[in-house]
């Protein structure tokens, strides 16, 4: 855990984003130190995925900035953005596998494009990534033949294939059984053991968050209301944090929706 030590890798300042009349992000401020494993928590529709998509430039901010290594990627030209994105790996909620390619080709896709590995090297790395997520004998299968949980794990394997410096995981454990959840959580922790690898994970699963995070941030009504180590999260008395942590049906989360 080095949330105090590492230099800031990703810095989000005053980020605003609205879709039509719906204001999703209303001034998000978040600093992510290099080498940390930060988990963003929040209810469904709180804007977690939208926030993550800003970090990799899939969405453009209405206002505010997203700095990666000090450079603002919110206003980069698409071509330059593609270069910045080489150091990113992202897994998506439902896996987002390319439907027309086999599992092997899906994981090999970024390797063939960017790694410079020869076909043998690619094949070896693909198998290694599949081993990490504990999938066997699926290389030749098409995504449609896999279960939802398996697709998510293949998506996870594809995200880590290039050994990127910044890892973004959108709900990596949702829909997985407890054993696989623990496996994915351990993998994320193990990846961030490397001081230069930074992970940003979205989840609404408390157990997974405690297992993954050395910092937890909570997003509520388009703002970060808490950010700190898990121990501080567990003792925080902010009603928003408390309701979420204690799974209480009554509190600010539900009032906001009434």
């Amino acid at each position: 855990m080095n949330q105090a030590g590492g230099p800031t890798k990703i810095s989000i300042r005053g980020l605003h984003k609205a879709f039509g009349a719906k204001k999703v992000l209303q001034g998000v401020d978040l600093e992510v130190p290099e080498g940390s494993s930060t988990v963003i928590m929040g209810g469904s529709g709180a804007g977690k995925s939208v926030l993550l998509k800003h970090v990799i430039g899939l969405l453009r901010p209405d206002a505010g900035e997203v700095l990666v290594d000090g450079g603002d990627i919110g206003h980069l030209h698409e071509g330059d953005l593609n270069t910045v994105r080489r150091q990113f790996g992202m897994s998506f909620q439902e896996g987002a596998l390319f439907d027309s390619m086999s599992v092997f080709d899906n994981i090999a896709f970024p390797l063939r494009r960017h790694s410079g590995l020869d076909p043998d090297g690619v094949a070896e790395r693909v198998r290694e990534c599949l081993r990490i997520v504990n999938l066997h004998d699926v290389e030749g299968k098409m995504p449609a033949e896999l279960s939802g949980g398996m697709r998510r794990r293949v998506g996870f394997a594809r995200a880590i294939a290039l050994k990127p410096r910044i890892l973004l995981f959108d709900e990596p454990t949702t829909g997985l059984d407890p054993v696989m959840t623990a496996l994915i959580a351990d993998t994320i922790r193990a990846l961030t053991e490397d001081e230069t690898v930074t992970a940003l994970t979205i989840t609404h699963d408390l157990q997974a968050a405690y297992a993954i995070a050395d910092r937890i941030a909570m997003i509520f009504q388009g703002r970060i209301v808490f950010c700190g180590p898990p121990e501080a999260f567990q003792t925080n008395t902010d009603p928003v944090v408390e309701q979420f942590r204690t799974s209480n049906p009554i509190g600010p989360w539900t009032e906001a929706e009434l």
Binding site: K53, I56, L58, E78, N82, T83, R85, R86, F88, G89, M90, F92, Q93, E94, A96, L97, F98, D99, S100, F109, P110, R113, H114, G155, R158, P249, I250, T254, E255, L258
Partner: protein
């Protein structure tokens, strides 16, 4: 939880209703100022709520300080329980009695609490007044401007992708290109044959009935020939492909958008315009001229059927007249138009697919508007090509 609902569902239970009530509601006699109300069996909205009569009667006897609502073997339940308890509470409040719901299942208690916390707060109804004319005009203008900018951006991305392709540096999969070629080539032949044959036939028939009056039947061959070769074969084929292939491109890319596949592609630094649009555009741009050439032949055959069966020419006569009427320029214009239509239809489909929303319904909308835009752009492009040919004298 409006009280008016209660009137309807509780009102005047019949004899069988009474029996049913007793099964679900038991109201004991007052003991030390306390009345026990037991709820039992299934409580769901699809059956009428038991009458409040017994509770009311117990309260009316007076001296009741507390109503204890308990779970006496509650089966399946939903918000009907809450409505009922709310009504009991209201009735008790009138008589100054308290209601104790502490012995009810936890789920009911939390929901009751939630309902109470919301009470007294006005329901916020977002009423949006119709904005004044000037605002609406402005909104439309901004919307149109954004659309134009977005379209130009897409055009620019595609142009950049084409430029990379020309330099041999485009990133796409050859298998995608071949698959798209197969989809919009051989697969489309039956429908293209049918439509163009019929269009040739109709054109010939209409021409025959008119030209016969002047004894100029042989010019049916000219009319069908020039009409099909210069314009109609390309237009009919283009419209067919807009409905068939353009729609399928929009649906494919739209589904990829919904599955976040396009986002994933972009995170790998691959522009969708190159990887997805380019092969589809090339496939349709290459195959449309071939399809149009084939369509010309089929269309001319349709005309020939009229010439031979209705006007009693021989096949040789009709073919010779067609041959004399046409030159290569006509064919060139037709083929060129077909290539343009192919590119337009592919672009419309891909554009709508990439800009698709993130739901199944949005994919449907994208598909529909891809077809509409494809057909409109074909007709507009045809007008421009005809105008251009007129100026150039070809």
């Amino acid at each position: 939880m409006h009280r008016t609902d209660r009137k309807r569902t509780v009102g005047a239970p019949g004899a069988s209703g009474e029996a049913l009530d007793a099964e679900r509601l038991r109201c004991g006699p007052p003991e030390n100022g306390e009345v026990r109300v037991e709820l039992r069996g299934p409580w769901t909205l699809d059956r009428p709520l038991p009458s409040l009569g017994p509770v009311e009667a117990a309260l009316a006897r007076g001296g009741v300080e507390r109503l204890r609502v308990t779970d006496g073997g509650l089966g399946e339940w939903d918000s009907s329980v809450l409505v009922y308890i709310e009504d009991i509470e209201a009735m008790a409040a009138e008589r100054g009695a308290l209601v104790d719901t502490g012995a009810l299942p936890r789920g009911i208690r939390t929901l009751l609490e939630l309902a109470r916390s919301a009470r007294g707060r006005p329901i916020e109804r977002v009423e949006q007044p119709r904005p004044p004319l000037l605002v609406r005009v402005g909104d439309r203008a901004v919307w149109a401007w954004r659309g134009a900018v977005d379209g130009l951006e897409f055009g620019g991305e595609v142009a950049a992708a084409v430029w990379r392709f020309v330099r041999g540096r485009a990133r796409y999969r050859r298998s995608d290109l071949l698959l798209a070629i197969q989809q919009c080539g051989a697969g489309a032949l039956p429908i293209v044959s049918l439509l163009n044959f019929l269009v040739g036939l109709i054109l010939g028939f209409v021409a025959a009935t008119q030209l016969r009056e002047w004894g100029a039947e042989i010019f049916v061959a000219n009319l069908v020939g020039i009409g099909m070769v210069r314009a109609l074969a390309a237009v009919v084929t283009g419209v067919t492909m807009a409905g068939r292939t353009g729609a399928s491109f929009a649906a494919q890319l739209g589904t990829m958008q919904v599955n976040e596949e396009i986002d994933a592609l972009r995170t790998f630094g691959i522009p969708p315009a190159e990887f997805l649009v380019l092969p589809r555009m090339m496939a349709l741009g290459l195959m449309m001229p071939l399809l149009a050439l084939y369509a010309v032949v089929v269309g001319l055959l349709g005309g020939a059927v009229v010439g031979i069966s209705l006007l009693h020419f021989t096949l040789a006569e009709y073919a010779h007249q067609t041959y004399r009427a046409l030159d290569l320029t006509d064919l060139g214009v037709g083929i060129f138009s077909a290539a343009v239509f192919g590119v337009l239809v592919a672009l419309a489909g891909c554009y709508k697919g990439l800009r698709c929303g993130r739901s199944a319904a949005a994919v449907g909308e994208a598909t529909t508007s891809a077809v509409v835009i494809g057909i409109v752009s074909i007709v507009v492009a045809m007008a421009f090509i005809t105008w251009g040919c007129n100026i150039l004298g070809i």
